[in-house]
């Protein structure tokens, strides 16, 4: 059995497939520090040129919303139909808008 009783920290991996795209979450891995997490992420997630840029973020540093709040957390947006273009009726004569 390995000596270390505590597991290495968990890192979430985000990859930008090519310039112009967002970094996208693609998985996670364990590594003792950020540099090694980056190297492991390269080996695990970009074996076929899937990325040009990698972010690794310690999973414990991510602040996430609670899925149980689904309703109340987002309901301020529910009654604001005027934020959508379809709320506005245009006369038939008006195009290109």
């Amino acid at each position: 059995m390995s000596q270390h009783e505590t597991e290495w920290p968990l890192w979430e991996v985000f990859i930008r497939a090519r310039g112009g795209l967002d970094h996208r979450h693609c998985g996670s891995l364990r590594a003792p520090d950020a540099e090694m997490a980056l190297m492991n992420a390269r080996d695990a997630y970009t074996r076929r040129g899937e990325g040009h840029s990698i972010w690794v973020v310690k999973a414990s540093d991510i602040v996430a919303s609670n899925p149980d709040d689904k309703g109340s957390f987002y309901d301020p947006a529910d009654d604001k139909v005027y934020r959508h273009p379809s709320f506005y009726q245009l006369p038939d004569e008006v195009d290109h808008m």
Partner: protein, 322 residues
């Protein structure tokens, strides 16, 4: 589906989400049995990828050409990667990586029994890619639509990578089947030994599969064992014909009414014997994993020590700068 009256309100809501094809994510509420089932299945799947490196590693140093060696190396690296994706997916459910690994090494956790058969010749590397990876792909494609998000996403990556594995294996079989009579005989021998274990990989027949009904209701599984097995047989028999090799089944025939091939009976006693530890390689496989774990301990310890040293140096620089 379970009896509606015995379901709690939460369970009913959960099932409604599943029925609506909503994906379940790690922090969502889920029944404990759903969590347990997934941890068992995903960790077994991870262990299979991980142990699956061993039969192929056996031929790495004896691959017939440098190109074949490089391709086999890439395939084995992929298997390690697939293991990693899957261990990570199981971790999102609260499973501990170290614990899963301990369960593999102690023999408590299972892995696919196909890897307890030996790879006796180079042709076995072809047969594994063609048949074992082919069967795995047949199993894994529907898992890309599994109700648990992280498992489904891991499967999308795995399936993309596996198709190279299967072609790599088929190409080896093709070269051997079109080679010297001895090479063709080697390919036939490999097919003879890997055919039955490959079609047994789909698991026991539908009537005897103990986890199937609930897994189907939860949309962890999308098709029954027998359906997937049939799909694999229908795809593979014409490929064997193309190779000019004979499937080792005297009862195999095409049913023109159903459009499906029908196989002879599968020897389930042999399957269960291998699952329960009586395969030719069960002991070797675990011993090899234990050895790798023990002999890799200094690498893990060195990485931990290096990270600690660098963190300490950074902290000292920060204090000096203040």
């Amino acid at each position: 589906m379970s009896n509606a009256s015995s379901q709690s309100a939460e369970e009913a809501r959960f099932q409604a989400r599943i029925d609506a094809e909503d994906k379940i994510e790690p922090k969502d509420w889920m029944p404990e049995a759903y969590r347990r089932t997934l941890i068992r299945q995903i960790s077994q799947h991870a262990h299979s990828e991980y142990v699956g490196m061993l039969p192929e590693g056996n031929w790495l140093t004896r691959a017939p050409t440098l190109r074949r060696k490089a391709a086999l190396m890439a395939k084995i690296q992929d298997e390690a990667g697939h293991g990693l994706y899957l261990y990570s997916a199981a971790e999102t459910l609260g499973a501990s990586r170290d614990e899963m690994y301990r369960d593999l090494l102690s023999g408590k956790a299972k892995y696919s029994s196909i890897f307890n058969y030996p790879t006796l010749t180079w042709a076995d590397i072809g047969a594994i890619g063609w048949l074992v990876d082919g069967a795995a792909i047949t199993n894994q494609v529907p898992l890309c639509r599994c109700s648990f998000g992280p498992y489904a996403r891991a499967m999308v990556r795995v399936c993309k990578e596996e198709s190279f594995h299967q072609r790599q294996g088929f190409q080896i079989m093709l070269s051997l089947a079109h080679g010297e009579p001895e090479q063709k005989a080697m390919a036939q021998d490999a097919l003879n030994r890997w055919w039955w274990p490959s079609i047994a990989m789909f698991g026991p027949p539908d009537g005897e599969s103990k986890h199937s009904a609930q897994s189907m209701a939860w949309k962890i599984k999308r098709h029954s064992n027998d359906e997937l097995r049939q799909r694999f047989v229908d795809m593979t028999v014409p490929q064997a014909d193309f190779l000019g090799l004979r499937i080792p089944d005297d009862d195999l025939k095409f049913n023109a009414d159903t459009g499906h091939y029908e196989t002879g009976p599968i020897d389930w006693d042999d399957f269960w014997a291998v699952v329960n530890g009586e395969g030719q390689c069960n002991t070797d496989r675990l011993a090899a994993r234990q050895k790798a774990h023990d002999e890799g301990a200094w690498v893990r310890d060195a990485a931990t020590a290096y990270a600690a040293k660098r963190a300490a140096r950074k902290a000292a620089e920060r204090i000096a700068a203040e």
